[in-house]
Amino acid sequence: MTLDTAPPGGLRRTLSALGAAQAYIGLVLVLAVGIATKGEMFLNETNLTNAIGAFASRGILAVGVTLVILTGGIDLSVGSLLGIASMTAAMMLSKHSLEPWQIVPICMVVGAFFGFLNGAGTTWLRIQSFVMTLAMLSVVRGLDRQVSDNVSVGTQITGPDGQLTPQAEAFQLFGTPGHNLFGRVYYPVLAFIVVCVVFHLILTKTRFGRHVYAVGGNPTAARLSGVNVTAVTIAVFTLSGLLAGFAGPIDAAYSASADPQAGQSYELDAIAAAVIGGASLAGGKGTIAGTFVGALILTLLDNVLGLNAVSDNWQLVIKGLIVVVAVVLQRPDLFTFFRGGSRS
């Protein structure tokens, strides 16, 4: 959408190239600052694993949000969906002693259900996705608080002998710090990477992926060429919910409890990751690889600033500015406007 206007010269071409590669340049910059200021402390494996692990559940949400953004919509409900999924996980564990492999699919179904409702509302009731998912954010948060009675639910359940139950022990592998799969792999990091790879392949290698881009690029053209726009839209919202449901148990394991406020404002980090990664809120433009890099930038930035003891207030300012810079770099046409280029 932004690249098909007449090329007014070298500057614009440079900027547009910069726009495409911005996420990678940003990542290199963050890494450079980290290495320059904190060197070994920043670059060691534990620190990087910790940093990415803390962001993994938000990164997974960002993948779902990217799918929705690609179709030209927005999903503001993912934070609440993660919240209710993490609460579901904690309750299944504490009240019903379910095995972790049973808990995750249940959480994914819960997330997918609300995601489906988002899709149904935006297509069949023709509510704008912004409004529909804003409403869902509120509805699901309310349900989350109601089922939990506003009290956080711990996941470190002890048996009569004072030791963790086998289910609780196994559940820790989903992300409690210090618990690794096969003694080496930190599950949240692995899960985030796998989700990115799977959805990258879905978007680039399947017909469904092409349809997602088509719907976002030009819904009318997509419809005329035989794409079932309604089905695609419902599918992306459902997948976004499914991923939020998948991220729920990770979040519950990470803090060893499900808080009734868990996931609040995560949707904003998820959207920021997608936007920094080059996704356009107008739809049709963006990649999972970009979102992955966007999430890495946010999490590593968090880490670098934290290690350098930059105050939270300035961290917020810096993160906001980065989002603005990312969006501006994607819109080289803005620069032609300032150079007096004609726009109709």
Partner: protein, 326 residues
């Protein structure tokens, strides 16, 4: 089609009216032989575990007074505007007494004044307002609790040491007071230093990554002071993962009697100590009862704190566990 919709709307309206009507009629208005007092409570935010616990306790203690009916607790969800309109609703309903836990002092002042003008006794619970036109204030003393935590830190680190401090939301008064009291107390030993402090917004999942960064930066942390138990426990998770939980002490605040609250954490040896921030629910119920029966009450009731240690944790849990069964 239109008719059906109209009919459905009428039915809905009727249902709405029906469900609202009986509440005041059966209670205060009926007067007559046996008077029931109606009490309204506007809570600033149900979603905080501490406040959820307060709600449970208040419902529990109110039930012990046969002639007092507590209306469903109104949740202002951290919005002062919502809370003002809740208070005004209660005034319109002519409740016999009103309890308010203000979200912020300034915006609620006028609403409390209105209630006072309407001759409704008002009990301010936990946080203050900028008027003295209320019947009683009941609340904890965050400076005192911070000081107690600081004294415990001094005891735990007789030879001095390095402390990291996880703070609540920086603009919250309890955070400011809990920090102030703590710093006053640790000044007793100049060899004790706070080497880092950050805002973790009262949340466990915010505290964990901050602690991970601190562990990387400072090899010599001796004690973590969390402004509430979840943050202290989030730091504990990070330290445990790094294999350093044994050589670091953890102090929290709140001491909730819930399964993953601070009292249990002390019992499990995760926290060295926590300090009960009293909900004031019992005192509020007693005060309401006295006011409604024309008895004198103390206007300012500042509550103390109890230190939770391994020795008294089990008893305190039993004492404050009101999980709905009893």
């Amino acid at each position: 089609m239109k008719k059906t919709i109209a009919l459905a709307l009428c039915a809905l309206l009727a249902a709405a009216c029906a469900s609202k009507a009986p509440a005041p009629a059966t209670s205060a208005e009926s007067g007559g032989e046996k008077k029931t007092f109606v009490v309204g409570y506007s809570q600033s935010n149900n979603a905080e575990p501490y406040r959820a616990q307060l709600n449970l306790q208040l419902q529990h203690f109110m039930k012990q007074y046969q002639d007092i009916e507590l209306l469903p607790i109104a949740d202002a969800r951290q919005s002062s505007a919502t809370q003002v309109s809740q208070v005004q609703n209660f005034i319109t309903q002519k409740v016999d007494a009103l309890i308010v836990s203000p979200t912020e002092p300034a915006p609620l002042t006028a609403a409390v004044q209105q209630a006072c003008d309407a001759k409704i006794p008002v009990i301010i619970l936990d946080r203050t307002v900028n008027t003295d036109c209320y019947t009683a204030f009941i609340g904890g003393d965050n400076v005192l609790i911070g000081r107690k935590a600081g004294e415990e830190a001094v005891k735990l680190l007789p030879d001095g040491g390095n402390i990291v401090e996880l703070r609540g939301i920086l603009s919250n008064q309890p955070q400011i007071d809990r920090d102030k009291g703590f710093r006053e107390a640790i000044a007793a030993n100049p060899k004790i230093k706070i080497i880092a402090d950050r805002e973790a917004k009262w949340l466990k999942e915010q505290a964990t990554p901050i602690m991970q960064q601190w562990l990387a930066q400072h090899p010599d942390i001796d004690l973590v002071y969390g402004h509430n138990d979840p943050m202290a426990l989030g730091a504990y998770l990070a330290a445990k993962a790094a294999g350093k939980a044994e050589q670091i002490r953890f102090l929290g605040i709140d001491g909730l009697a819930i399964p993953d609250g601070g009292i249990r954490a002390v019992q499990l040896g995760q926290l060295s100590a926590t300090f009960i921030y009293p909900t004031g629910a019992k005192e509020a119920a007693e005060t309401v009862n006295k006011i409604l029966h024309g008895q004198q009450v103390e206007k300012e009731q500042v509550l103390g704190t109890t230190q939770v240690t391994k020795d008294n944790a089990a008893d305190l849990y039993k004492q404050f566990d009101l999980s709905g069964q009893n």
